[in-house]
């Protein structure tokens, strides 16, 4: 259905199209009305002129008829036919004077309407006109026979109460056209000018209304496949329904984003919890047989009198098992240790401990320590977190780079922040950052951050990472918040 396909058009075309159709329709109707009015005006104008001209001529003709001066009458009725210009193009086609018997007294076209001719008998149309003249009163009357190309303006020639005759001015309706076309031409220009102004405005306005809708539709269609972009406010920042729709869309999108973020975080932390639990379970399961094996090796070494070759083997076994023990111990972060409170002195210790590593890589560590008295947090664990994060930062920095470390108190929360340059973290790195063995490299087993995470979680705190790349330089920032119960 073509009509349906018209309605299926994009708003982008439909709104301007409808607007254009309305504007053009209005222009056509209005101008048609004005054209008709203008034609009437021209006609009325002509009749008014004809009437006044007829009255003047009729008055002038009175003495002429009384004295029977045919030639003078001929000159009088010919006068209006001379001196026509383009401006007063509305001129009678023929003028004639009928006598009281409605015979032609004189006419401007003597060949067609000779003197003494019976007017009514010259043509059917003239008969109708003659009949109207017979009935008319003392006033000028306009006779417009049906389907005739001519208008007849009849003015009685009155001497006091006596009717001497009738002056008839015959106008061709065709002469109205040049005048009408002249005024219609002006009108057309005005209409075209109005259209030339309105149509582009309408088109612009239609686009302006449709474009936000199109953008909104595109985004709504993307919703099923992921989270689309927000709608820039500048597309449409008004408070009408469309504007409110935009705001609602942006609000919904924001909520969906937050929800997705929260879901991501929940999944992440749940995974870490699961890994932790798994690691703890495995560690416990491994620890018991390990201890048994180490005890057995010890017993064999002291009571089995092994030869030199066996002793060497036992040493290898013992070393391997000890390494397993240490790894398991590292996995199994045990926060429930009795330890003294974390004090400013501990920060100095940490500085001292990391100095050799930093010097080795010629990395400068800049400290901002805002701690003046001990806080009730286990110093061993906090120190370990700090050392792990700073060493990681030193490793991640380029040689000769810098690391910033800051400790601060905010109410009952200890804040610790480490920032380093070097390469930023990739998304997948961030995703699995705190999982064990994921960051295993040349300088460790990849348990440092896992340990930090476990410690912080067990202390009821939070650890967050934020890694960005800007102007060719990476900036990775770890932030640890550790709440403590104020004494």
């Amino acid at each position: 259905m073509p009509l349906r396909s018209l309605f299926n058009l994009s708003f982008r075309y439909k709104i301007p199209l409808w607007g254009s159709v309305l504007i053009v329709t209005t222009a056509v109707i209005t101008s048609t009305a004005l054209f008709l009015h203008s034609y009437d005006d021209v006609k009325r104008d002509m009749l008014r002129n004809a009437t006044s001209q007829g009255q003047i001529l009729a008055k002038t003709l009175v003495p002429v008829l009384l004295q029977d001066h045919v030639w003078q009458a001929y000159e009088i009725i010919n006068a209006p036919l001379h001196g026509a210009t383009r401006e007063n193009a509305i001129q009678a086609d023929t003028l004639l004077v009928l006598d009281a018997q409605r015979q032609v007294y004189v006419s401007t076209r003597p060949r067609r309407l000779p003197m003494l001719a019976d007017f009514a008998r010259r043509s059917g149309e003239y008969a109708l006109v003659a009949a109207s003249i017979a009935k008319m009163g003392d006033e000028t009357s306009v006779i417009s026979p049906v389907a005739s190309d001519y208008l007849y303006v009849a003015t009685p020639i009155m001497d006091e109460q006596t009717r001497l005759g009738t002056l008839i001015q015959i106008y061709s309706k065709k002469i109205l056209w040049p005048r009408f076309i002249a005024s219609a031409g002006q009108l057309s220009w005005v209409v075209l000018l109005v259209l030339a102004v309105l149509l582009p405005i309408n088109w612009y306005w239609g686009q302006r209304t449709a474009m936000p809708l199109l953008r909104l539709t595109e985004r709504m269609e993307q919703l099923g496949h992921g989270l689309p972009d927000e709608l820039p406010a500048k597309i449409y920042d008004y408070e009408d329904e469309l504007g409110r729709l935009f705001q609602a869309y942006n609000r919904t999108l924001q909520q969906l984003r937050e929800k997705a973020l929260i879901e991501g975080e929940i999944i992440h932390s749940e995974r870490l919890v699961a890994i932790g639990r798994l690691a703890a379970g495995i560690a416990h399961e491994i620890n018991n047989p390990l201890l048994g094996m180490l005890t057995s090796i010890n017993t064999l070494r002291h009571h089995g009198a092994p030869d030199a070759r066996t002793s060497k083997t036992l040493t290898l076994l013992e070393r391997g098992l000890t390494q397993i023990t240490e790894t398991v111990a590292a996995l199994l972060v045990e926060a429930k240790v009795n330890s003294r409170d974390f004090a400013p002195q501990d920060i100095d210790d940490v500085q001292t401990l990391i100095a050799p590593q930093a010097n080795k890589r010629r990395v400068t560590v800049v400290w901002t320590a805002g701690l003046s008295e001990p806080v009730p947090l286990p110093s061993t664990l906090v120190r370990q977190v700090m050392i792990n994060l700073i060493l990681n930062a030193v490793q991640a920095s380029e040689e000769g780079g810098g690391v910033e470390a800051a400790v601060a108190l905010s109410g009952a929360v200890l804040l610790f922040e480490v920032v380093n340059g070097g390469r930023s973290l990739s998304d997948s790195q961030t995703e699995h950052l705190f999982e064990p063995f994921t960051n295993a490299g040349e300088n460790g087993r990849g348990l440092g951050l896992w340990v930090c995470y476990q410690i912080v979680k067990q202390l009821g705190g939070a650890i967050a990472v934020d890694s960005t790349m800007a102007a060719g330089a990476g900036r990775t920032r770890f932030e640890v918040t550790l709440p403590f119960a104020a004494r």
């Binding site: 029977d68 045919v70 030639w71 001929y74 060949r111 000779p114 003197m115 003494l116």
Partner: protein
Amino acid sequence: MTTRRLFLGACAGLALAPALAAMPRRPVRVGLTPVFLGDQHGLLADWRAYMEAKLQQPVVFVQRDSYRETMDLLRLEQIDFAWICDYPFVYLRKQVRLLAVPRFKGRPYYRAYLIVPARRLDVTSLLDLRNKIFAYADPYSNTGYLAPRYQLRQLGEDPGKFFKRTFFTYSHHSLIEAVADGLADGGSVDSYVWDALSKIRADITGRTRIVSQSPEYGFPPFVANHAVSAESFQSMQKMLLTMADDGAGKVLLERLDLDGFVVGDARNYQLVARMMREFGEE
């Protein structure tokens, strides 16, 4: 016509202003009738200036709509001289004196032309215009009224009933137009006027056709009323008779389509007098 008179009056006033001081005498009043192409304003102004220079006296042209009015002015001595048709001359013979007669085509005679619209090829004589519309020039015109009526009478017709309708145009020029436009089916016109008009407005005369010509009549003369002094009569007569002898006069005569003036002979008008007698006038 009223406008024409006013216009001439204005011209006269303008031209007179500087000349009056040098010409203290009362102006010579000259009556003009439409026996010639009277509506050439430039020609009349020049002719008047010429007369003033020659007569050393202001000249006023007095024009009227009909011959009758000019005749009355002559009778009442309101004008000194007049150029009138031969019919009024014979009519007023006892009250006026013959002053001079123009020479037209070398002789002091002219004729009446019977004219019809050019396309009316069926008309070959006056008799073909029976029961038609006929235009006369003036009731006191010879060629424009008396001559055709006389001809009808000679043919045994009653001029009062022969035509369906007649009307007066009060000028030969208008009569030619009336026939050219087809307002009248025919008319009788002064040959001098028709010939003169054919030289300047062939578009009008071209729409008419000369069907027949009348015998010769004495040309419309210049006359003086009886009260005019002998001195004035002579100077005016001399002025007219010598027009053809000087350059400016010759130019004016050419424009008037005339050859000059002669003293004239009242016997030349006997035919008109006979025609008038036929209608019981004189």
